[in-house]
Amino acid sequence: MPNIKELEEFATQVRRDIVRMVHAVNSGHPGGSLGCVEFFTALYKDVMCYSTDFKMDGKGEDLFFLSNGHISPVYYSVLARSGFFPVSELATFRLINTRLQGHPTTHEGLPGVRIASGSLGQGMSVAIGAAQAKKLNNDDSIVYSLHGDGELQEGQNWEAIMYAAGKNVDNLISTIDYNGQQIDGATKDVLPMGDLKAKFEAFGWDVLEVEKGNDIEAVIAGLKEAKSRTGKGKPVCILLHTVMGNGVDFMMHTHAWHGKAPNDEQLALALEQNPETLGDY
């Protein structure tokens, strides 16, 4: 069993990193990043098997693909604090000549990243390809991917959702960050997407819902349950109910902090709510 207290301390430090990184360059996407802290923590600190001696082909390792690349702050913080690159490099986020580009990319060779993302809707196709390659290589590890709920408005996702089920890509676990928010407002107001669970099931996926997507124990349990359902002929979808901006009270339950940085006062408040645990970068 993982030490939940340690994971929660890790998550608190990641939240500090996110707001500090975004504040430092007065740009970036804190809301979705904060909402997915527990997911990333569970994935990288407990669920996935991987090596920090990064190799692009990742043979014999579980792989993760971030499709909604704008939540790069949480991705970078967790990669750094999991040992892929120095934590001090978080200070270069979005600065000229950085490996920590606004949206994740392989272009500058950042360890841990295997595909560029940011232009939405492309990550599930890539994850499917990587999963198919694993099957060809007789590699029974798992491919994970994360997608925004609003991102599902991009049509390419539905090509990928149809394909993954139709071709029995059952070594794939795609998680939807189900926070109900997007840039212009609530997803139900921008473009209602209906019953996502029923839609994935109708396409032939095995779907499970994690109601407490910001509770580390619940997220770990959900990911492990999803893993137990792989290899059974169906791709697995997790509908992860999260709160955008989780852990910083004035950023929660609103789309307002999707792509906005806190000012000095707001940063101080956010950090007060998330005291330093592992040491700031």
Binding site: D57, L63, H107, Q122, G123, S125, V126, A127, N137
Partner: protein, 317 residues
Amino acid sequence: MKKYTYTEKQDTRSGFGAGLAELGRTNPNVVALCADLIGSLKMEKFIEENPERFFQIGIAEANMMGIAAGLTIGGKIPFTGTFANFSTGRVYDQIRQSIAYSNKNVKICASHAGLTLGEDGATHQILEDIGLMKMLPGMTVINTCDYNQTKAATIAIADHQGPVYLRFGRPKVPIFTDADQKFEIGKAVQLTEGTDVTIVATGHLVWEALQASEALEEKGISAEVINIHTIKPLDKNAILKSVKKTGCIVTAEEHNYLGGLGESVARVLSENLPTPQEFIATHDTFGESGTPEQLMEKYGLNSSAIVKAVTKVLERK
């Protein structure tokens, strides 16, 4: 002047199919993907011999490009197959982000390029694809001229690390290059020696350029014909060396003159050796239905059009 003849006509897409089949036998990392156009792309042999290495994606080209990018991560060398229109314009952002910017080793193989697709008309003909692909950083762009060259190019690009756009076509055209040729990416092939004019051609226009050079010889005009199968990276030394001797140039391609081979050549010349140039290409227009021959005649993409362009460029020397 060296004369070129042929005994057989064959479609360049069949050269792709033959090259892919050979790769299936020689390179275990090569995999193929198709978006519901197996027969049109001549991929049957590869599929018959390597069913486990073939991915039928269905009519979903965006998904195909993403899956291809993902397959490279497991060390595979994916060859995607669909029409040129659906290989480029339809999926530009997928190629841009998931393949080019991510530097994935995907080979985008595109048939039915240009007007010679014929009767299906402008929705399926594309005259903008070379421009779209050559603007992407890191993308290699190849347009082959006959069956043998397409087969050789298909085999050669598997050994090249990085994304490639390989463009070929539908109609049966003369086979005039060697069956055992060595295909060097980025290396122009000089087909005839001449002193009065340089004709640089790509794809189906290479044979037309050779026909034109024979007609010009009868008029006492000596044309140097260069086969530029690789538009990016462009063999600028071959072009500059030739125009230093001839002093004028005609470029010929089955593509819009905006964004095509002709513009790439014009840039090289303007930077190094400003030279009179005429463009055999479509002029900012869509295509239409018709037979390939009718369309190439109507849009000025054949040997007689090249002869006229040479006459004009010689006057500008």
